[in-house]
Amino acid sequence: MTPTTRRRARLAAAALVAVSIALTGCSAASASSDADGGSLTYLDAEIPTSAQVQEAGTWQTRALQQNVTDRLLYRNAETGELEPWIADSWTVSPDGLTYTFVIRDGVTYSDGTDVDATSVAKNLNWQSAGDEAKGTTPNAQFPSGLVATPDDASSTVTVVLAAPYAPFLNVLTGWGSGLVADATIDASKEEQSKFVNLIGSGPFVVASETYGKEIVLDRRDGYAWAPPSSPNQGEAHLASVTVIPVQEDSVRLGTLKSGEADVIRYVQPSEEQGLVDAGYDIVSKTGVGLSNQWFLRSQAPFLDDVDVRKALLHAIDRDQIIETQYTDSWTPATSVLSPGTFGYVDESAKFAYDPDAANSLLDGAGWTERDADGYRTKGGERLTVKTYIDVYDNTAKSLFQQIQNQFKDVGIELSLNELDYSTYWATAFADPEVGALRVGWPHPDPSKGLSEYYGKDGSDLLGLAGSDTTLQSLLDAQNAATDDDTRAAILGQIQDHLIDQAYVVPILNDSQVFVTQQRVRGFSLTDGALPEFYNTSIED
């Protein structure tokens, strides 16, 4: 094309756009308030990899599943209450072994098949057992040995567990528990990995995807089964959501500022204030689950002494960390669980920043000598704690360095080591010298995370192998406690014990930070801090 014809083509295109805007403008005015809420461009910081339901471990994958699938139950992000969703109602037997769900009528998957009792039962069995022949693993959050039996006549699904599993209802609200059509379950593992093959009953449908580049979600026509607390009960306002992974922070931000994007996930904390001043909205939330925490391994050098571990708890000035490196979107951790999580108890008084207390604990433990660099020594050995910088957190490096400085103030050396992304788990967690590592992620129910991290049958990160019988029996007891009050009390005791024994050093409450254009309305985050586009619209 010559420049002239190109200009003409552009003019023609512009005219066409103008006309079509005028036309849609007219139709929007005459239609209901549910009319075209526009198309939203969302830039995520990471690439969604596999859509395979049970493998959905990464945050960016959950964010998509959240908007494409529905779940049996909904957990209200504000009140923390469980609400009906695809299950109209549910009952749990007193022994905690039998769950009965009544399935809502008239719900369909986007391929037209029914979300009936048969389909729900199939989903639950599949989630619990996986499919060995296809290399499909079980959902790690689900109880194993679950048997779900449908009764389509009465629209009920009866679930019988092999052992009581109190987290079950919360797990059913989670991002990994999205219900999918037979077409998805029956597909090969490789087909299931594609987002276009993720057939849910949610308010959006995956219209197209280019791996690593772009995923387009279209509004599901006729959607009418939102959770009762949702302000929108009909179809989504947005006609489409274009999800583009942009890993470069500066490019993501530049694209937002140029007006081409409506919502982005994650900005450097140092950028937040400038964006607020420029009129952008910051939407942030700490997801339910475990706080950002360091576990301390008592077999590691010097950490077998509970007083040394306690000194570490008191040596961290969390307020200073938030003040110097983060923003109002972030908060210091106040427990092993994050606020708003079922069973959360504020433990912050037990690990307040107190260098004097840390110093006297260390003096009492015999670390009285100091070497030329100012670190404490005992019997000629320097008090050194080894860690690896977390590879999953963009802010980890400066965070770890600041803690290193704070430790130095009381004479503890924090030895920082780095690994690349691919070797992190295999190397850092196997290193017997390691005293502390960062863990703590969102979980729909905290007990699963706690048992998984700190129980002898899970990852046993503390390396206790069940030798702390108090901890182990508490972890075991809460699974069987089906009564909410009893369970909350046990969770409280677990948090007490983990802090009293200084097994865990809570650092901060991890937040998901989004920046939106002012024209974006109704953008909200779920209890797991995932974006919900259902109530979102664009208003110019």
């Binding site: 471990g57 290399g135 295999a426």
Partner: protein, 363 residues
Amino acid sequence: MSTQHPNASAADTRRRQYREYVVRRVAQALLVIALVYTLVFFTLFVLPGDPIENKLTSPLNPLPPAAGEALRAYYHFDLSPIEQFTLTVGRLLHGDLGYSLVSGRAVSDLVAQGFSDTIVLAGVAFVLTILLSLATALTAVYAPVRTIRSIAASAPIASISAPSFLIGFVLLAIFSFQLGWVSSVRDQGFVSYLLPALTLALAVNGPLTQVLIQGLRNAADEPFVTVLRAKGTSEVRIALGHVLKNGAIPSITMLALVVGELLAGAVVVEAVFTRTGLGFITFESVRDQDTPVILAVVILISSIYVGINLVTDLVYPILDPRIVRPGHARSRRSRLARPDVTTAVASGTAAPGGTPTKASVDA
């Protein structure tokens, strides 16, 4: 070949020598690819961690041991390295590249997606590189003002030292964020290739331009230029028609290296411009130790390198048959045509004294 007739003509001998040469070079090329593949395969086994291992042990979303075993069996990680190697090579010979361990997608799809994007990007960048080098070199040698000549002559150094990440971001900030001419994140077809291609061209043109400048300067001093000038040929004709034709020969050898540079530079450029080409696929698969994808990328890239070298090797004897016949006289032209590329890159000048052997081009 031992049955060769004693009366075979010289042309037959040359053809036979060339055939032997071709067979030898092709065999060498295939051997290099096979060795690289084997080396990478077993290196990946020595390194700690893989996506399956991470999935099994990750406190993020760990799996019960029984499920872990099933998963290992599904991906054949329960076999010994040798058995896995045999299996993988067997599949490879059937054209089956397997599936990504991370995204679950067919490796052939991923590599095809990446390659089809990068080949266009590299192609556009290649053309821009040549244009950029020609413009800079002609300016450096022929600009009427001395200052302009020296600025142009130092431009290659500047482009070698400027990080392409920075160049890319500056281009993006100007043309996308400020002027809004192209999208920073959406694929708008050919237009979307221009900025990343320009970034790549700016990053790789340095050495090529240096060789070209040197080549033009050398050619401009050749006696034939004096003859042409004496015959009254115009300076523009001399420059573009004769000096350029002769002086560009050394830099043509460098084009093969430029292709390699373009592929290597694509990783950074694709990250800045949010492109999902081969650089992106490579980066992701190495980050996650996604073995099947890494192997496919390795075999593709080594085939490209080896292929380009092979073509160069096979074309040279056609241009200059003496290469397959050892012990021939060397002319100044043939030395010029086959400069020592390594020295040229390292010192920034074409070294016309380079030995006209294969090794200099392979290096």
